[in-house]
Symmetry: C2
Subunit: 377 residues, 2 copies
């Protein structure tokens, strides 16, 4: 995918020009992957900061720990400046300040500062950087990176589709790893094995829950308790291939589900289809939310998940959110999850999730869609 990076730089630079940004400063795994092709699991180590500076024109400059120079050089970035990190006196700050002084003398430097972003460097280093460049103005990027990354290229869509296909194959084998008496934690381990066997590079995310009436939340780690006959089991996976995520789930019932649970599942699938139909170019994220919520609650909204789906790609969750206040206009190339949830009894819920891609004529399924009737093991 490195061949399309120069076009990404130019698109970013066109948006930078609108905001009068002389440089863009990036520090996170997804942003460095997106603009430098820098792909490694080493981000799991929090010790070292990593910097990429995109000038107003031309190629980015990498300011990174020496340990990453060989890998960075495999991508299209040629100007790679390194220091021996960790450095207890100056952990890359002066090197970065020099680069910014050279690339954007006295200019405005944009950084992602909106929802879902953070600055991946120590606050002390951030303060030292601004002290070193008193003539520079550091400002938000106006959502520039989010907007760019929201619309995926065909190669990116293919990568996400491959991750989705791997997850689909793993879910098709769910019967191999779920049975009454098995601790949920063991089911989680075994499902991750299926994902790897089917081609995942790694399983960055797995959540889920189990219970007769659904589950209390969708973010808890699996406990040691055994699965019971009649349990609904939900597994939600964010596996990664070539750096790109899928993010979808499946609910299965260990034995026939109670009628109310079966009906709740069917309604989640109805809501998914309503979201799919609404997810057309020109519609907004809000429109998709409204279409799904009409099925789920008759339009009353609510629920503690906070949204009914979201973007995905280099991160498990990306903008936009299918949320009443997200007015992002859907465009061809956006990849979304549709993720309706319902309370079944007080304190218990069911969640369903599929992945779709927006095309010129409407959405296409990347997963499923699962049938309305819940699978029974």
């Amino acid at each position: 995918m490195n061949d399309e990076l120069p076009a990404r730089w130019r698109r970013a630079q066109a948006l930078m020009a609108e905001r009068d940004l002389a440089a863009l400063l990036l520090t996170t795994e997804a942003d460095l992957h997106y603009l430098a092709g820098f792909h490694t699991r080493f981000w799991q180590s929090p010790t070292r900061p990593w910097f990429l500076v995109l000038p107003a024109t031309g190629a980015p400059v990498a300011v990174i720990p020496a340990i990453g120079a060989a890998l960075m050089a495999q991508g299209p970035v040629r100007d790679i400046r390194t220091w021996d990190a960790p450095d207890y006196r100056d952990d890359g700050v002066s090197l970065l300040a020099d680069a910014l002084a050279e690339i954007a003398p006295g200019g405005r430097v944009g950084l992602p500062d909106g929802q879902g972003t953070h600055l991946r460097m120590p606050l002390a280093g951030w303060a030292a950087l601004r002290d070193a460049l008193p003539g520079h103005r550091f400002t938000g990027d106006g959502g520039l990176m989010a907007r760019l990354r929201m619309v995926k290229s065909p190669a990116e869509i293919a990568a996400i589709a491959a991750a989705c296909a791997t997850g689909t194959r793993a879910f098709a084998r769910l019967g191999e790893v779920l049975r009454p008496g098995l601790p949920l934690a063991d089911a989680f381990r075994r499902f991750q094995v299926l994902c790897l066997e089917e081609g995942a590079d790694w399983v960055a995310y797995l959540a889920g829950g189990a219970g007769r009436d659904g589950y209390a939340d969708v973010i808890s780690p699996a406990g040691p308790g055994p699965l019971a006959p009649g349990d609904v089991v939900m597994l939600d996976t964010g596996l990664v291939q070539a750096g790109y995520f899928c993010d979808f789930d499946r609910n299965v019932s260990l034995g026939p589900p109670a009628p109310a649970i079966a009906a709740a599942h069917a309604r989640l699938i109805d809501a998914t289809h309503a979201g799919f139909a609404a997810a057309r170019p020109g519609a907004t994220a809000t429109d998709v939310h409204v279409a799904m919520d009409a099925v789920l609650t008759g339009g009353r909204g609510g629920g503690n998940v906070g949204r009914l789906g979201h973007g995905l790609g280099l991160e498990l969750t990306e903008p936009p959110s299918l949320h009443p206040h997200d007015i992002t206009e859907l465009r061809p190339g956006m990849v979304l999850t549709l993720e309706p949830s319902l309370e079944t009894v007080p304190g218990r819920m069911l969640v369903h999730e599929e992945n779709i891609v927006i095309g010129e004529a409407g959405a296409t399924w990347l997963t499923g869609p699962a049938p309305a009737e819940m699978a029974v093991l």
Copy 2:
């Protein structure tokens, strides 16, 4: 481990008093796990910020998205304030500002700001928080959280030891998954399966490399190229159990290694033992570095990895660093990696890594130590 959290609060508060901090503000996965027992893979989703405020006395206050309330309530934190995130108007900032105004009126609020830390919230939210609290002073925590987390409790050491034992069992089965002709990427997948089968909750980190003279770096993802007879293969795993990491590697040779490679491996093991012997209470991280570097280079130092080991625990890499400038005094309860590396030929290297824990009388191995003679498959 939740029963020891109140003691952690009190230790943190004693250090806060030294720095005249009225509150500590924490935002990251490891810090919320450490002080609130909040353990979830949901951190993989970057959308939502999470906040924990530790007052000068008493229990912490959680200011978190509603989606996490049920899980947070399973821990010892009772004051849980939630908002429906994502919120496009105010994503938790006012709720957090209110909490800080109540808990620490006009006081000094400390945040981790040193090496290996970052603030996990949007920069725009961070600016809005300071604007909302003009009478408060936000300042660094003086390394307080790093110092606290560096010394592990017996329960934490047991958790790390369990992760190390799982990794040891997986490495003992390496012969099942490595053979000439297999793409390294497939070997990575298969080794992760072994880690899961042996009890890992998940495999947060796996890196490695292969080649006749070693590998170019230790952070690249596995390529599609096949392993060849005579290759040295290194796998370095950071698997997780109950939230705690191991971090160690093994080198194996596909067929007898070249004499120079065998000698380099033996020297890495010698350096590991030198580090082990030096890693005693009262010694510094620098002392351990010096002992290892004497074996590796005769005391000349160098190499692009930047250090010869580091702490580990709730994160793959934690302070201290075995580095010439890290004067941290070793204390019983610290868990460290010993991670010597050597250049074999220009641009190729070997790396070895073991995990140890510091006790009253010296270090104890949590892994290995591997024999000087490299394993041959």
